[in-house]
Symmetry: C2
Subunit: 282 residues, 2 copies
């Protein structure tokens, strides 16, 4: 499973991989590290969980993982855990233990992510947290109805409470699906920005580049092996931003669509750095 | 925590303890084992969990633990887990994974216990299970209002669906608290029997004999260490049945109160053996 020890083992593997590729990447624990990575022309890598299940039933693990570089954690992944419920099943809201975990994440400086979290649990985390929380990677259901997408009301609610929204380019959640282009993605960014404002928006790629069919089978089943929760069909990123290497196209597209350099800089990363600094207490 | 491996370690300790006291006790995996224990004048010991958390996120662990002698498992202990929610917090009901666990417990032959489970999750397990389920140790809220006690409607609902109720003598949940006597306990048995009938009732002691203050602190906190969920105050069993050794007093009390030997035999154990045989597929 994805409990404490299996997660530690994943961190070990990732650290080894980063060491072996230290000419290209570096770990980041602070926003100073992020700026340092940019200065060095390297890709900074921040650990984040998509499931608070790695905390198991131990509040103390929040700080243990923070010390190991885990600065953002999603409360639930698709279904129910000890903290709350995910977006693919009936959602009973944030549990009592979940409230204690949110308080500890606030204290230690770990951002609460609600991307795959259920609507009710999300609302209650937004109200419970004393630090900004985020949908790190989502799309608006105003453009396509899907359990993973967020309604206008949900986007407004998180923004009204100081929260942040990263917009994903995962094609199955875009209106045109795998026929989407980078302009359809830019349209989604604009849609969200109209609701949350230019300071609360960023990119949340959800890139799955290099992963095969087995990985997607895992993603679409509860606990990675139990009942099927969804089916993506074919997965391909929007034309124009199919790979990480095509990222400069996004800057160009946003500028072409009339956004100022100031706003594009915010969307492309400055807002993320600011909100992380706030949550991490820097 | 109380995950898979810690639970295996507990089983190892218990097996060692049983081996060292094999003149007095023996493990039971089947109802034939129960009858054998009675024949030999030994106490048969059946493993049961008060929290399905030991199954972690693996449906396959249901059968692993059954092979190790775990024949009855409570779906949730007081608060939320992957399966549902306990009786000490808001209850969102049985999760999708919980439905898969119930199906596997049915298939493998493990009884679903709902004693510390929330009202909504209990109702949904009762409806979901194809085998009888139980409140293995509870008291009626008709005699005392308490989150751990079950309403007349709840008792009727489980009985109407072929379920079983074990009545506990845990004094804090009895109307007179620690001033209760064995007659107050007998009254509670009669109260429940009036609702569920003489075939669906048994004893569920919840004896904590030999445990100290530290154990009760553990019991009254979420996850054994997190927020306090309840406070029992002083704990002492009803006068007349303070210890396991005083069990014969209960038989005598029930007979004195006018119950036939036939009914007393049912209450004292025959009903339990019958329902376990049914659930275990014997």
């Amino acid at each position: 499973g994805e409990g404490f020890q299996a997660t530690i083992n994943s961190i070990c593997s990732s650290q080894k991989l980063m060491r072996e590729n230290s000419d290209l990447v570096m770990p980041v624990h602070t926003t100073a590290d992020i700026r340092k990575a940019k200065e060095l022309g390297k890709t900074g890598i921040l650990f984040g969980f998509q499931n608070a299940h790695a905390y198991e039933d131990q509040i103390g693990y929040v700080e243990i993982f923070k010390q190991l570089g885990v600065g953002i954690v999603q409360m639930c992944y698709n279904t129910q855990n000890l903290v709350g419920t995910g977006c693919y099943e009936r959602d009973g809201g944030l549990s009592g233990f979940g409230r204690e975990i949110v308080a500890e994440m606030n204290r230690v400086g770990v951002m609460c992510d609600l991307s795959h979290v259920g609507s009710k649990t999300s609302e209650e985390v937004i109200l419970e947290s004393k630090k900004p929380v985020c949908y790190s990677h989502c799309l608006p259901s105003g453009l396509k109805e899907h359990p993973r997408n967020k309604s206008d009301a949900e986007l407004k609610f998180i923004a009204d409470h100081g929260g942040f929204v990263g917009v994903t380019m995962f094609a199955p959640f875009l209106a045109k699906g795998i026929d989407s282009t980078i302009d359809d993605y830019a349209e989604a960014i604009e849609y969200v920005m109209n609701i949350v404002g230019e300071d609360a928006i960023g990119i949340g790629t959800d890139f799955t580049q290099g992963h095969g069919q087995e990985f997607f089978e895992y993603l679409t089943h509860d606990k990675g092996y139990a009942r099927r929760l969804t089916s993506f069909g074919k997965i391909i990123n929007p034309l124009g931003i199919r790979t990480v290497g095509e990222f400069p196209n996004l800057t160009e597209t946003l500028l072409k669509r009339g956004h100022s350099e100031r706003v594009v800089r915010k969307i492309m990363g400055e807002n993320w750095v600011n909100v992380l600094a706030d949550v991490w207490g820097e």
